[in-house]
């Protein structure tokens, strides 16, 4: 379990993963050496899974975001697993969720423009036999909340 110091470390690293160990230690009131051990422990325990740059997709030539809701038929492991592997290999794919409900997957994609999206849909999805239904949701704006508060012992909810 996480104690309050772990929670503080996690929060700071969610806010700024490139903070120096020294500054991090100072923010959570630990000596740098101790802080370093804490961070290592959090990584070892799988709490901290990685550190990633948040990049402006427009600068990468992919300013348009969309969700693609996909229904797969048949919804069996033999079909689902390859579909997941395939989708994750598409350069346009940003995130993939396997969900419950009428739709089976929600694929978040980043593309250059509408024409690119159209090509992706036609060539990348509807052309596949297992894809039974598609619905596209253009994304006007998207906000990711990088910091998530712990729920339970250290949350008050």
């Amino acid at each position: 379990m996480l104690d309050s110091v772990d929670a503080a470390i996690v929060r700071e690293l969610q806010n700024d993963a490139r903070i120096s160990n020294k500054d991090l230690a100072s923010k959570v009131n630990l000596a740098p050496s101790t802080c370093l051990e804490r961070v290592r422990s959090l990584k070892a325990r799988g709490v901290l899974r990685g550190f990633h740059a948040d990049v402006d997709l427009g600068s990468l030539g992919r300013p348009l975001l969309a969700f693609i809701a996909v229904r797969i038929r048949p919804h069996t492991r033999e079909v689902v697993d390859p579909f997941i592997a395939y989708t994750l290999k598409l350069p346009e794919t940003v995130a993939l969720s396997h969900v419950a409900g009428p739709d089976d997957f929600l694929v978040q994609v980043a593309v250059r423009d509408a024409a690119h999206l159209q090509r992706l849909l036609l060539d990348g999805f509807t052309s596949r036999r297992e894809v039974a239904h598609l619905q596209t949701h253009l994304i006007f704006s998207h906000v990711h909340k990088w910091a998530t508060e712990p729920y339970g012992p250290y949350g008050l909810e």
Copy 2:
């Protein structure tokens, strides 16, 4: 625009935002001092927006993920803006997308369990006057692809 060295730097920082400047420089074949300047420039130009730890939500007591598709009525700025602000303040909210289509918003939430989700839906959403329709999609699995390849000059697509 990004040249190929910028693209390489961005890719490395997407993979590991806590890489040392020295190691990063070595990976992209630059001197550390030059690499530092490149990274600063990428931040200044808004290409690198931030660096964030990827945290295991289960460790934070929120192992259950869901999308909540929300329809708002009326869909006017006077109603939409406060709804966005409200939703982003909920501790359960992880991401919020304003989308085109029958649904107006897709809210990604992280909760402790089904009961928590139910409470969130009833007290946090359906109780609000502007919320006309809700549909919840439990997320069985979710994969985020941290690295996105540039599209255009440096992509081959």
